[in-house]
């Protein structure tokens, strides 16, 4: 008799970040089916709920998963607002939240497994790649909440340390598409590159408007002034369209990375969700999280979180991005960040990869903007030339 484990899947498959929510849910459900089809010692019982991007629903639905469906594990939430909404309930019930998206760091909850990238695994490697190649003057855009604010703050700290400059920092409400002001400011004072922390339709509108700008003004475009993002993955490239080609993003997984595990995963996913659907870090990490959960529960013989967490801390898990380990100090997963350039086929061409997995540094304890600036060859000059 297999052990039946209820698992909450809390993803918004409607609303402003529905494309990401759909990928996460699909990845999680694929893992659930694989675990159940294998007929092993654990059978997962998914309880999927859709908050549809409405922040009030996260509280109610996570409470229902834990209280009514007996879940001890919830795989879910995409934005930090959603995650912060769910954490108090998770803590109250001593459950475990599996969070698979990149985020802004500065959190280390004992009841969360952080499977997405922290700033030292996204914005820092992205800038390390981009600044030496394109320059130190950047325009920062973002959606108006903590992800954009904090990622842009780190960007500003890095640029200040290397004697660079922030030409403008503009935010749009989530879901807004009036990007004209951002574009006209960029046109008036061209930066070396643009850091994009917009999400969903705002981001798609920005790419489209920037492409229009590049068509009428040759100073712009991906070769001269690229848009670089920390959370743009394959699942949104169709929505971005040809306007995205040539621009950059960083992720802990790209579909095009090598590896037998990844190739096998891609083939199985294609069979399941169709040959044209791209594979993103979101679908992969939601899938990997559920596989890790099932493996740990199987070994523990229970879904009780203390024992499951202990096993998670002690094991290496084989997954499409490579071997995954949960750091017992921080509950964060070590990742190999990649930098990708958007190609014409809905894929990223990987232009740089970290040689080894980087431990997550959620509080940026080992981050030193001045040392980073020196490493990039752009330290702030100690004396200025007076002209």
């Amino acid at each position: 008799m297999p052990l039946t484990v209820p698992v909450g899947l809390l993803y918004s498959v409607d609303g402003p970040y529905s494309v990401i929510g759909r990928d996460c849910l699909d990845g999680a459900l694929m893992a659930v089916d694989e675990v159940n089809d294998a007929g092993g010692p654990v059978r997962l019982e998914p309880h999927a709920m859709n908050p549809a991007g409405s922040i009030e629903s996260y509280h109610r639905m996570s409470e229902a998963m834990l209280r009514e469906h007996g879940c001890r594990h919830i795989v879910g939430t995409i934005t930090s607002i959603g995650r912060k909404e769910v954490i108090p309930i998770i803590e109250k019930h001593d459950a475990l939240l599996w969070y698979v998206c990149p985020y802004e760091g500065f959190e280390c909850c004992e009841n969360v497994i952080y499977a997405g990238a922290s700033p030292n695994q996204h914005i820092v490697p992205l800038f390390r790649h981009v600044v030496p190649r394109f320059g130190r003057r950047a325009a920062l855009v973002g959606s108006n909440y903590v992800w954009g604010w904090e990622t842009n703050r780190i960007a500003r700290e890095i640029l200040n340390a290397c004697g660079g400059e922030v030409l403008g920092e503009r935010y749009l409400p989530m879901g807004a598409t009036d990007v004209e002001r951002m574009i006209s400011e960029i046109e008036a004072d061209p930066p070396d590159f643009i850091l994009n922390n917009l999400i969903g339709p705002s981001s798609y509108a920005f790419f489209a408007a920037y492409e229009a700008l590049a068509r009428r003004d040759r100073r712009f475009g991906p070769d001269r002034v690229p848009i670089v993002s920390c959370n743009l993955t394959e699942c949104e490239l169709a929505a971005v369209g040809p306007a995205g080609i040539g621009h950059y993003s960083t992720a802990i997984y790209f579909e095009s990375i090598d590896g037998a595990e990844n190739a096998a995963f891609r083939a199985r996913l294609r069979e399941r969700i169709g040959p044209d659907r791209p594979v993103s870090a979101f679908v992969v990490m939601a899938y990997s999280a559920v596989r890790m959960l099932a493996e740990a529960v199987a070994e523990a013989g229970t879904d009780e979180i203390d024992i499951v967490r202990r096993i998670l801390h002690a094991h290496t898990f084989s997954a499409p991005p490579g071997a995954l380990e949960v750091d017992p100090r921080t509950n964060h997963i070590a990742h190999r960040p990649h930098i990708g350039r958007i190609a014409g086929n809905g894929q990223f061409e990987v232009v740089e990869s970290s040689p080894a997995p980087l431990a997550a540094d959620p509080y940026l304890v080992d981050f030193d903007a001045t040392a980073l600036a020196r490493a990039m060859g752009g330290g702030r000059p100690s004396l200025r030339v007076v002209q």
Binding site: E91, F106, E107, C108, C109, E110, R153, I154, R156, E157, N160, R329, T330, P362, Y363, L364, V365, D366, F367, A369
Partner: protein, 205 residues
């Protein structure tokens, strides 16, 4: 640590946790380790031999007067209370120890980083304000000599009060002194003499 856009960093700090051994102290130590901080746990006394310390987390519930080896309300390092009881008497005691931030029991990972950021920044602000207040008090205590000087200059040079003060201030500035220090350093008659001598030079210069 302070300054625009700088990430607060406590790597290498040494922090005292003044709390009896329990799960709260253990969780606090675990979170501080994530911030790159080394902890020394002790109770009830703070042993400075284990220091020097960069900050203290102390129990607000069971703490008592005389626990710290410095004057109350004027600790040399950031003080953070670990608060269980919100009884006003306990909060008053924690404030009297110079607490500038707090975390609540049961201690969890969240709140520790903010408490450190707030307590360090507020202590730094307190120091800046204290320096400014001391400076202003010193200048205030020199005001009677300034009045004596103004009266002397008015009489000697036949000036009104505002012009006399402006001439004194100008003479002080020429000597890179505050008005108060300038007036405290010499008798009113000498000041009148100096101001009378300075005046034509300023006009021709």
């Amino acid at each position: 640590m302070t300054g625009a856009y700088r990430t607060p960093n406590f790597r290498g700090w040494r922090v005292a946790i003044l709390h009896r051994e329990d799960a709260n102290a253990a969780r606090l130590e675990r979170q501080l380790a994530r911030l790159g901080i080394v902890c020394v746990r002790s109770w009830p006394a703070l042993d400075l031999a284990d220091g020097p310390f960069d900050a203290v987390f102390f129990d607000g519930d069971a703490g008592f007067d005389g626990q710290f080896p410095w004057a109350n309300e004027d600790p040399p390092i950031p003080m953070i209370a670990i608060v269980g009881s919100e009884a006003p008497g306990r909060l008053e005691w924690a404030l009297a120890q110079g607490a500038r931030a707090h975390i609540v029991k049961p201690v969890s990972s969240s709140g520790v980083f903010s408490a450190l950021v707030l307590a360090s920044a507020l202590l730094e602000r307190h120091r800046r304000q204290a320096r400014r207040i001391a400076d202003l008090e010193k200048r205030l205590s020199g005001r009677p000599q300034v009045i004596d000087a103004v009266i002397a200059v008015m009489a000697a040079c036949g000036l009104d009060q505002d012009t006399a003060f402006a001439r004194i201030r100008s003479a002080a500035m020429n000597r890179r002194q505050t008005v108060e220090a300038f007036c405290a350093a010499r008798p009113p008659a000498d000041i009148a003499h100096l101001v009378a001598r300075d005046a034509p030079r300023r006009q021709t210069g």
